[in-house]
Assembly symmetry: none
DNA sequence: AGAAACGATACATAATTATATATAGAGACA
DNA sequence: TGTCTCTATATATAATTATGTATCGTTTCT
């Protein structure tokens, strides 16, 4: 029965995380304490109605009261709209990641000399850096960069570098001709019925 | 700042009264005490999130969390189904709506030229026109057509058109999926065809 | 390795909600 | 008038939220 409350709180949390806002930042904007938010989000305490409203308002959300009957229709609207503009926030850490990646490439060049694959990676990074990436996409980039880092000292670096280049290329392609037939979700458009 | 909370509580109260439910009756269905509800409704005390949810659930309402951006659209939906004056019923008006929609698409084609999205919308409209839509579904279609109308003159029509196409597609998918997944019993152990 | 940010948790304490029960005042109805 | 039902209050008490401050364990970046 506490069901619905949990769902709402979980939604709020997902959206907070998706927009790259920390509990602390949110706590300031909402006028609550970080520990308070933590406890609410982790279900250890139930928020008062206006505490919850304060949280959601600080996330550009609103609580609305609707007849059960047209909840599905409304979820449709929300879902459809959730994709495009979600990424106004969170400008910071990505740049740093790219910077790190470019440093890495530079180091690899010094170790192994220039290679076509490295040039390609360099190019692709410059491209990707300028694009608005979804969380999922950024996640992929991150993993690839980590792999690059990890195998930097490896004896068999060359094939791995090539594979990474291919992966980045694939990502760029998928972004470049942005899906006319299949409008893929830029970020999770779940309605949370399966996970938790 | 407590404005929103008051508004929600006031809405709940209005709806309770409009449906002729007494505080006492509501208190039993919601599992709260009458005095509790009285204090909440008169603003003398602020409900916890789940107390409020219990109240609203007992009134066949639901709290949903939506981006501020599309609150107006949602209020439209809610209002449309709340006012008995606007009722659609009757077989005819739907056809007219679709006809209007198709004229709209035609006009858009003349203004902006053909586009994949417009083609898709055209297709989807033809499909939806032939299907029996529930009131809710028709409501959604109506809302989408209205949006198409409103943004017809907009400079940035393209992304909106795409979004509308996606919405219609989603609706079609939900219809197409729902029908065949029914086991289709050879002998009818039907449940009455109300779609609700 | 060290610094920084993040989320979870641990208190102590103040403030408020929630429950139970009872009753008062207003309005409708016979 | 007497009786209903409904909402608003009045307690007293138990339970929970909310604040402040501080710390712990992780992860991430330098």
């Amino acid at each position: 029965m506490a069901y619905q409350r949990e769902s709402l709180v979980a939604q709020a949390r997902e959206i907070r995380e998706a927009s790259g806002v920390s509990q602390r930042a949110l706590s300031e904007r909402a006028g609550l304490t970080q520990s308070h938010i933590s406890q609410i989000e982790s279900g250890k305490m139930e928020p008062g109605l206006s505490s919850f409203i304060d949280m959601t308002r600080a996330l550009d959300l609103e609580l609305v009261l609707v007849p059960k009957k047209l909840v599905p229709a409304i979820l449709n609207l929300v879902k459809a709209q959730a994709t495009p503009s979600m990424h106004i926030h969170a400008g910071q850490p990505n740049d740093k990641r790219f910077a790190r990646a470019e440093r890495l490439v530079k180091q690899l060049r010094q170790i192994y000399g220039s290679s076509a694959d490295l040039d390609r990676i360099d190019d692709l990074l410059r491209f990707l850096r300028r694009v608005n990436l979804s969380d999922q996409e950024m996640q992929l980039v991150r993993e690839l960069i980590d792999r690059l880092d990890h195998h930097q000292a490896s004896a068999q670096a060359a094939p791995i570098v090539r594979e990474i280049a291919q992966n980045l290329q694939r990502l760029r392609n998928s972004i470049a001709h942005a899906a006319p037939s299949e409008p893929r979700p830029a970020y999770s458009l779940d309605d949370g019925d399966a996970d938790a």
